[in-house]
């Protein structure tokens, strides 16, 4: 299998804090990779580094063999890396359709506004938002907003899609829907990195899991093996105890 994304000793400091510390792993074409870790482990920061929201302090990030470490966010987006946000970020004053069309227009290769809207409609049908196209994004329910995020990501025609807690706050029926959708996307050949707290989701969806703790990679392997890894268990339990006493760092 060909390697699509490769991280080589990637680090990022904020002030004196090592948010991400010397992380290296690879993601193969067509893979679904899970990214786990307790709160504050650096998962979202890592996604931010890959998508160019923050520059890495050191290390290199390769996408399809090309060094994207120093590229800016919009350039990376156009290369075919899409993401959703943990805290959903729709454009509140635009309609659902327009929200999705932005992705198609600026990174999805749409030839013009008309084309972008046509593409956006398809993605909205796929994500089950076909009945909400003309609503303002700010009026949607949380579950629908999460799906809107997904549709926006898809509209970018990504080769790699990073899903940051798309299931948080959803009920179990909504989660099942979402997972079905994710699998369908993967079957179309899109590589996926998924961040999730719910182990059930991870076990049923991810083919491989990378675990982070305090910015460091502590495990990389098939789901069963990673979840039995003592360092991973300690990280979760330990952090729970820590949370009970002093509150976790964010």
């Amino acid at each position: 299998m060909t390697v699509l994304l490769e991280l080589k000793s990637v680090s990022r400091q904020f002030g004196g804090l090592n948010a991400v510390n010397d992380v290296s792993f690879q993601v193969s074409q067509g893979e679904i990779l899970g990214l786990i870790g307790p709160n504050g482990a650096g998962k979202t920061t890592l996604i931010n580094l890959i998508t160019g929201v923050h520059p890495a302090t050191s290390g290199r990030i390769l996408f399809d063999g090309q060094d994207i470490t120093k590229m800016r966010a919009h350039q990376i987006a156009r290369k075919g890396l899409a993401r959703t946000f943990q805290v959903v970020q729709p454009f509140p004053k635009m309609t659902v359709l327009e929200n999705v069309a932005t992705g198609a227009l600026f990174a999805g290769g749409a030839t013009g506004l008309k084309d972008a809207f046509a593409q956006a409609r398809q993605h909205l049908e796929f994500t089950g938002l076909g009945d909400s196209v003309d609503k303002l994004a700010s009026t949607l329910t949380l579950a629908k907003r999460k799906r809107l995020e997904l549709a926006k990501g898809l509209a970018m025609r990504p080769r790699l899609l990073m899903l940051d807690e798309v299931n948080a706050g959803l009920n179990s029926m909504e989660i099942d829907d979402a997972l079905r959708m994710i699998r369908t996307i993967a079957e179309r050949g899109v590589t996926i990195i998924i961040i999730e707290h719910l182990m059930k989701v991870m076990l049923s969806t991810a083919q491989r899991i990378v675990a982070l703790h305090y910015g460091q990679m502590i495990a990389d392997g098939v789901p069963d093996a990673v979840l039995r890894n003592p360092r991973v268990i300690e990280a979760y339990l330990g952090s729970k105890y820590a949370a009970a006493h002093s509150g976790s760092s964010a």
Binding site: V53, A73, A77, Q89, T102, G103, L105, F106
Partner: protein, 309 residues
């Protein structure tokens, strides 16, 4: 979109016809209206579409006025000077935009304020080129008063129409779409592939080019320019008030705002000799406190209420 074009053509024709038949003072008012509309529309590119609170309008206006004034005194033909003034303002905006468009909110606002102050001081301290604090006289056009006033109205009208046309085109373009994304959430826009930096710079440049030309036409029109006048902070604030009046980020909002502001100004200047500044202040206060979304929102609210009943 089609409707926008129809309104634009009809509006322009109406102003043109009114101007042709009116007396000189009325023509002067219409000329100011077109100038205001140009300024407000231009501000809307950066302030409304992109959401960057710019006070650089005064800088661009003064720069255009002085560019054209200085060049005209060198003997260049007037139309060429107007064009060069627009170009100069746009190039200046793109260069300065490169330096300050990474600033957000307050800091951007201040930086734009300072740019106008800087330019004003530069003009003040280069009397050999610009006349400094003494002001600058432009060559007088040797044509009759009546023709002159109509020529300048026509020039401003054409400029206002072109600016509005640019706004209509922008709204339905890739650039306009990207700017709206930036206005609502810049980092999310970047993630979606919008080159925020480039787009903002383009919007800043667009907000300068027509203002620069307006300044140039204005300079030729009043025949005499001086720094405190063409770099006046009010030139930067009024477009903002107009856009607030008419509704932010819309096509005809700025023009409605320009009409309303001009009408209020005329009314207030005529009737409150020594307290017109206060009257303008009261208008601004009422506007901000009670109609933050512009006059249109009032109409919308009313019609919504009626619909409910």
């Amino acid at each position: 979109m089609k409707r926008d074009w129809v309104i634009l053509v009809c509006g322009a024709a109406a102003i043109g016809a009114l101007g042709w038949s009116g007396d000189n003072y009325f023509i002067r008012l219409l000329t100011i209206l077109c100038m205001y509309a140009t300024l407000a529309q231009s501000w809307n590119f950066i302030g409304g579409f992109a959401g960057y609170p710019s006070f650089a309008t005064a800088a661009f206006f003064g720069l255009g006025a002085y560019t054209s004034g200085v060049l005209q005194n060198q003997g260049l033909p007037i139309l060429m000077c107007w064009g060069l003034a627009g170009l100069c303002a746009a190039v200046f905006a793109v260069l300065i935009g490169g330096a300050i468009l990474h600033l957000r909110g307050h800091y951007f606002a201040i930086a734009t304020l300072i740019i106008a102050e800087m330019l004003r001081e530069i003009v003040n301290t280069t009397p050999n080129l610009t006349g400094g604090g003494m002001g600058l006289n432009l060559p007088i056009l040797r044509i009759s008063v009546d023709v002159q006033s109509r020529v300048f109205l026509l020039a401003m009208l054409v400029l206002a129409v072109v600016t509005t046309a640019a706004a209509i085109l922008l709204q339905r373009s890739r650039l306009g779409f990207g700017l709206r994304c930036i206005q609502q959430n810049e980092s999310a826009a970047s993630i979606l592939g919008v080159n925020a930096y480039q787009y903002k710079t383009a919007a800043f440049g667009m907000s300068a080019v027509f203002v620069g030309m307006a300044g140039a036409i204005y300079a030729s029109w009043v025949n005499y320019i001086e720094p405190p006048d063409v770099f006046d902070i009010l030139i930067a604030v009024k477009p903002l008030v107009m856009v607030l009046l008419g509704g932010i980020g819309t096509i005809f909002g700025p023009i409605i705002g320009a009409m309303v502001l001009l009408a209020l100004e005329e009314l207030v200047w005529r009737n409150f000799l020594t307290v017109h500044a206060a009257a303008l202040g009261v208008i601004i206060i009422l506007l901000v406190l009670f109609l933050p979304n512009g006059l249109f929102s009032l109409l919308k609210d009313l019609s919504a209420k009626r619909a409910k009943q």
